[in-house]
Amino acid sequence: MSDKALDMTTYREEMDERPSDKLSPQTLLEMFWYMLLSRRLDERSWILHRQGRIPFHISGMGHEACQVATAFAINRGIDYVHPYYRDLAMCLAIGITPRDFMLSLFGKAGEISSGARQMPSHFSSRKHNILSMSSPVATQVPQAAGLAFAIKYRLKMGLQDPNDTAQPRLAITSLGEGSTSQGEWHEGMNWAGVHKLPFICLVENNIYAISVPVDQQMAVRNVADRAAAYGVEGVIVDGNDVLASYDAMAYAVQRAYSGEGPTLVEAKTYRPVPHSSDDDDRSYRTREEVEQWKRKDPIQRFQAVLQERGILTQEQLDEYESRARQMVDEAQKFAEDAPYPEIEPNLDPNSVYAPVEVD
């Protein structure tokens, strides 16, 4: 591995063949679809919050490209994913549905992670190997290293066939650049490096830790510059370019699957909306800055690429838009009509523990 972070923007030009070149038109459209669906679902969530119908929303807007690229680069639904609260697009692409998300926003029975005990956007789904996080940030990173440790342990002990694609072969965690100031991040990264684990850390660098700009969070230019210090390969990529993000992630996945060790992928992106429904970003950044970034919107960029390549027609786009609206409408109605969780079982102290089986 390199002692300097690899800048994918130049690296890609030197590649003989980019992994993203191998993606079929069908797959590219599917990626576009998830980005679009996520955006429309996210927009509706903001509206529902502003209407006072849900208590809280934390958004993944603007981050869709690197998230969907990640989902498509891994073995979706099998590899362990320990995401953070912005990863709506990633989780949709892995298998969480708009209905699941709406049930969570409304805190209704049937919510998949915990029957509406857990906060929205703290995604989890056992059947997709998506693991839930705690609200204090970066705390999922050591756990993700632990998941990767378990994979390596199972492989070494002969408990898992390395070619068995029905088993998780890597663990990926994601977080914002703000969270990389936490000790937990350092400890998890170091662990992954020391044990050369099949581990990927995706840093969705949106240049703000709520209101604190990146230059007040770290004295180095890139989060990925720190990777070398952990014995981890660092990669920097344009996180608003879905194909470049895919190339970076495919590279990291290949390293993990082949036992070459952990990779940190820093996706440079931006959050064009406030941190959550509880803050107003006008107090800490200019509208001009936000507008400038909106021009680099990942969905519009990908749309232009697909249209230019003749993969996406206007007709198809209209159909996607109408399907997304329909799905979001249906999901919202489903959640609004759903009952609230039963009270008694949720207040039972025994419910906190796994059932104990006594022989």
Partner: protein, 327 residues
């Protein structure tokens, strides 16, 4: 008595911090979002422009460093106010709080002191889920070397901040996320302090003693109004400080009423209620006419969904019910 002014707890905290910063240039504030944004609960709004970034520091997201660096700066002669956005994040700073801030004076045989103020926000009820809605004040009250106060009223919020900053020991000021808009009379006295470890009677009565702190005091006040309509006079003791714990007022009150309910937002096991009950057993057993009752959160991680969350938390109704059980 000084003149008073009616203000919210938020305004009281803000005014106290501002006055202490003018009074002593070694006082500075650091934490996540405290500067440009003015604090998650808007307590330090305007401070960044008023005092500049030297004294109002936006930090990286690094709770251990926010407190740890506070401990260091305090040992070096400053009076830092380290702000932890919520008490849930204080778990990431536990070593700095428990093993350093609390123990340094003792471990160094008194050669160093740690005049550190740690401000944070506790409490549930806002649908923020299990890992974002803790009320774990007792964890900090467990350790000698720390002072822990929990303002329920605006005058206390004002005086506790001043007491904390001027005190030569580490003090945790644990505010409640749903009380910032609560109004009360605040003395117009820049040297108004709340004596360390002094509780107070916030309502007098003869039939039952309600012991609480923070948000719990407000549930008790609401319950006392309901009970009063039925001719039951509840006396309410606001502990104000969980460490040091003032036993005098609730023991005295118990000797008058002979019945007690302890109300807290935290979990039941090994909680404030357990401690208060033990103190009554030790100091006033002969005055007891009924078993002491506790009103606490249910013994589960606080759920997100609104209805279950509300049912999991204490309420005035639950306090009324408990009182009737001890009468």
């Amino acid at each position: 008595m000084a003149e008073t002014k009616r203000m919210t707890i938020r305004e009281a905290l803000s005014q106290a911090l501002r006055e202490e910063m003018y009074r002593d240039e070694t006082v500075f504030i650091m934490g996540e979002e405290v500067g440009v944004w003015g604090g998650t609960y808007a307590v330090t709004r305007g401070f960044y422009d008023e005092f500049g970034e030297k004294r109002v520091r936006d930090t990286p997201i690094a709770e251990m460093a926010i407190v740890g660096a506070g401990v260091g700066a305090a040992m070096a002669g400053l009076r830092p106010v380290s702000e932890l956005m919520t008490i849930n994040f204080a778990f990431l700073a536990l070593d700095a709080i428990v093993n350093h801030a609390a123990k340094i004076h003792s471990m160094f045989g008194g050669q160093f002191k740690v005049p550190l103020t740690i401000r944070t926000t506790t409490g549930g009820g806002r649908q923020l889920g299990a890992t974002h809605s803790h009320s774990p004040e007792i964890i900090f009250a467990h350790f000698p070397g720390l002072y822990v106060c929990c303002p329920a009223m605006a005058d206390d919020a004002y005086g506790m901040i001043k007491t904390a900053i001027r005190n030569d020991n580490p003090v945790m000021v644990i505010e409640h996320s749903t009380l910032y808009q609560t109004r009360g009379e605040v003395p117009l006295d820049q040297d108004y302090l709340v004596p360390v470890g002094e509780s107070r009677i916030v309502r007098e009565g003869k039939d039952v003693t309600l012991v609480s702190f923070s948000k719990g005091v407000h549930w008790c006040l609401e319950a006392a109004d309901i009970l009063a309509k039925e001719g039951i006079e509840a006396e309410i003791v606001d502990l104000r400080w969980l460490r040091p714990l003032d036993t005098s007022k609730f023991i005295e009150s118990f000797k008058k009423t002979n019945r007690m309910v302890v109300v807290e937002e935290g979990l039941p096991q090994f909680g404030v209620g357990a401690e208060i009950t033990a103190r009554v057993m030790e100091e006033a057993f002969d005055w007891m006419d009924a078993p002491i009752k506790r009103v606490t959160a249910e013994d589960v991680p606080l759920p997100y969904s609104r209805e279950i969350e509300q049912m999991a938390l204490p309420s005035a109704e639950k306090v009324v019910k408990a009182v009737k059980e001890v009468l």
